[in-house]
């Protein structure tokens, strides 16, 4: 079974690098994007199994990205997990309503994040070995 492919979206390259290392160590394939426009392009081209999305992004705020993903026939089924520095109050409900599968505020506990990634992945694509930190 192939590894789950995760699209990591954040405009902080250092954080993207750390998340990439963390996810690779947990048996995932990682692709990245750093702005709102690139998310849609990467999602269309690469068909990731899950998107890890920051909200404060250049060229299209995270909410705009969520909206566009939901509006697309081919992309709306991809689970999106929001990982943001923004306050849950006012943003969490909005993100979940806009179609996000889960919401995390930075800094996030790795085990918790990996766990939610695992349960959010479409079943048939879940890795053979469970994600472990």
């Amino acid at each position: 079974m192939r590894k789950p492919k995760i699209l990591v979206v954040d405009d902080d390259p250092d954080l993207v690098r750390a998340l990439r290392l963390r996810l690779r160590a947990n048996n995932c394939e990682v692709i990245t994007a750093s702005d709102g426009y690139a998310v849609i392009a990467a999602a269309q081209k690469e068909h990731p199994d899950l998107i890890l999305l920051d909200l404060g992004l250049p060229a299209g705020d995270g909410f705009v990205v969520l909206e566009r993903l939901q509006a697309s026939d081919t992309l709306s089924a991809i689970p999106v997990i929001v990982l943001t520095a923004r306050d849950p109050q006012g943003n969490e409900e909005r993100a979940l309503k806009a179609g996000a599968a889960a919401f995390f505020q930075k800094p996030v506990d790795n085990d918790e994040l990996l766990n939610v990634i695992r349960v959010s992945l479409p079943h048939r694509k879940a890795p053979e070995a469970p994600l472990m930190s």
Binding site: A18, P79, P107
Partner: protein, 530 residues
């Protein structure tokens, strides 16, 4: 100079006094319009229609007397300057009015046009000044809150980066780490957590100040929550060789509280207790009922620490208060913890206080309301002061395919609950707070203000939405059943409060007596979600 017209609302029931004041007004000012009313009700109506430059107010009117009169006028027109027209014998009352927001008073029968003119002008000026101060204060508060919220957001970004890289190193994802290096990294991680907690407190305190803090109460078994907090704090206590114990009265009923928030309060109080107790001391967390206050549960955290000086006891819940004698000054924190605790408890309609004897230790106590179904139902099952006509009880049962459940079952049913809440009309349906304890079978109840036919639309929506919850597909089955709430026992001639209680009673009874599946409405039998 051409003054703009002054519009005076004269509230005076004595025609003679009214005429005299009107005369003085016209003598003193060329451009003045005087509207005179005799009753408070007419005055309030006039204030609702048009805002005058000033109100002249007699306190004893046919439909209102004394302090009641000025309170109502100030409430109706908070930005209009008010000058009281007082009798010779009630200057004390007029003075009280001034203390409570009236600008000035004049003694009737002793008013010259000059005096009146002066009192009016000063009243208008002072009111304008107060108003601009109030506006400036609000702007400042808003600016500060925005600034703090921005700062805490900006601080989180680098902090997240530090956290990620330190955990990468600690988990050996960037190569093996020697034990000493690992120790140092753990110290960094501890500081990161402290910094994180401070940022969170800063934002919380900002929220408290701007009245934006929210709590989401559920039906909570307090004993479990206390046990959870104590288990989390046990390592900290052990590191200081402090005995940390639980003393919960097993009979305490369920409480209506936000479990995450109350856990924060418990952790905060326990952490403080440990911090201020010397090695080999003891900390005990208790919960009990108090006969004289039957609607509340009392929770207390007692330590054998050095206690709090009486003069500090009243300050301790204030924002930014720091104990000047803190033994641990280098890590004192921001002094926001108890301030936030106080607000969390206040939002639960409880109280929090401290009792302490210097040298003998301290006891922090807070109260939480008991879980009451009628209190929760009241806003949704009533409309315009009347009971809605029909209710249906919907039962949603999630059963795990395995016992014990596989994976993160709690996460699954929490997701389901969240989804369920999005399927109902929040103003007329209520998803009952779930029980905290979770097993392989999780049952949710919804009281819906609708009839059986229309409830089918709701259950279809609930089923469709819940079937989309990713986890449920692989881990459980879903059964939805509906049943009308019989309102036979509800006496509509009773006060509304009693009617609500009767509905709550009926719902409780249904939940209890219809636990068996077969008694539920036929035709809506269970269906596997996968």
């Amino acid at each position: 100079m051409d003054h703009p017209e002054t519009h005076v609302l004269l509230i005076e029931d004595n025609q003679g006094d009214a005429d005299l004041v009107r005369l003085r007004l016209v003598e003193g000012r060329s451009r003045v319009r005087v509207d005179c009313v005799q009753r408070l009700s007419d005055a309030l109506q006039a204030l609702g229609k048009e805002t005058p430059s000033l109100v002249l107010l007699d306190l004893n009117l046919p439909d209102s007397q004394g302090s009641e009169t000025f309170r109502k006028v100030l409430e109706a027109a908070p930005n209009v300057p008010v000058v009281v027209l007082s009798g010779q014998d009630d200057e004390a009352l007029a003075m009280k009015a001034v203390h409570q927001g009236v600008q000035d008073y004049l003694v009737k029968g002793d008013i010259s046009s000059k005096q009146l003119e002066r009192a009016m002008r000063y009243a208008v000026e002072r009111q304008a000044l107060l108003r601009s101060l109030e506006i400036a204060r609000k702007q400042q508060l808003e600016f500060k809150n925005q600034f703090l919220s921005h700062v805490s957001h900006e601080l989180r970004t680098p902090l997240t980066c530090i956290h990620q890289y330190v955990t990468l190193l600690l988990d050996g994802l960037a190569g093996p780490v020697a034990p000493e290096q690992s120790d140092h990294l753990k110290t960094v991680l501890k500081s990161v957590s402290q910094l994180h907690a401070m940022i969170r407190d800063l934002l919380e305190a900002t929220r408290v100040e701007s009245g934006m803090m929210r709590v989401e109460p559920r039906c909570v078994a307090l004993g479990d929550l206390i046990q959870q907090a104590v288990t989390m704090m046990q390592p900290t206590a052990q590191a200081k060789q402090i005995g940390l114990e639980v003393g919960v009265d097993q009979r305490i009923p369920l409480v209506h509280a936000d479990p995450d928030r109350i856990l924060e309060v418990l952790i905060n109080l326990t952490d403080n207790a440990i911090k201020f107790t010397p090695a080999e001391g003891a900390v005990i967390v208790k919960a009990c009922l108090v006969e004289t206050d039957p609607n509340m549960v009392y929770v207390s955290v007692t330590d054998t620490g050095r206690g709090i000086r009486p003069e500090a006891q009243s300050l301790i819940f204030e924002r930014l208060y720091q104990d000047p004698d803190s033994v641990d000054n280098n890590r004192a924190g921001l002094g926001l913890g108890l301030f936030i605790c106080k607000e969390v408890i206040r939002l639960h309609e409880g109280r929090i206080w401290v009792a302490s004897e210097p040298g003998q230790g301290s006891t922090f106590t807070f109260t939480l309301p008991l879980y009451s179904l009628s209190k929760l139902l009241a806003p949704v099952i009533t409309y315009q002061e009347r009971l809605r006509p029909m209710f249906v009880l919907v039962r949603v049962e999630l059963a795990s395919l395995t016992n014990p459940p596989r994976g993160n079952w709690r996460e699954t049913w929490l997701q389901c609950l969240e989804t369920l809440r999005r399927c109902v009309y929040l103003d007329k349906d209520l998803v009952l707070p779930p029980m905290e304890a979770s097993g392989p079978l999780e049952t949710f109840f919804v009281v819906a203000s609708t009839d059986m036919d229309r409830s089918q639309i709701m259950t279809t929506r609930i089923r469709e939405q819940l079937e989309r919850v990713v986890d449920l597909k692989t881990k459980g089955t879903l059964t939805i059943t509906t049943m009308p709430v019989e309102l036979g026992s509800v006496d509509l001639s009773q006060p509304l409060e009693k009617q609500v209680e009767a509905v709550a009673g009926a719902v409780t009874e249904m939940i209890m007596t219809t636990w068996e599946k077969k008694q539920w409405h036929a035709g809506s039998s269970g269906k596997h979600a996968n």
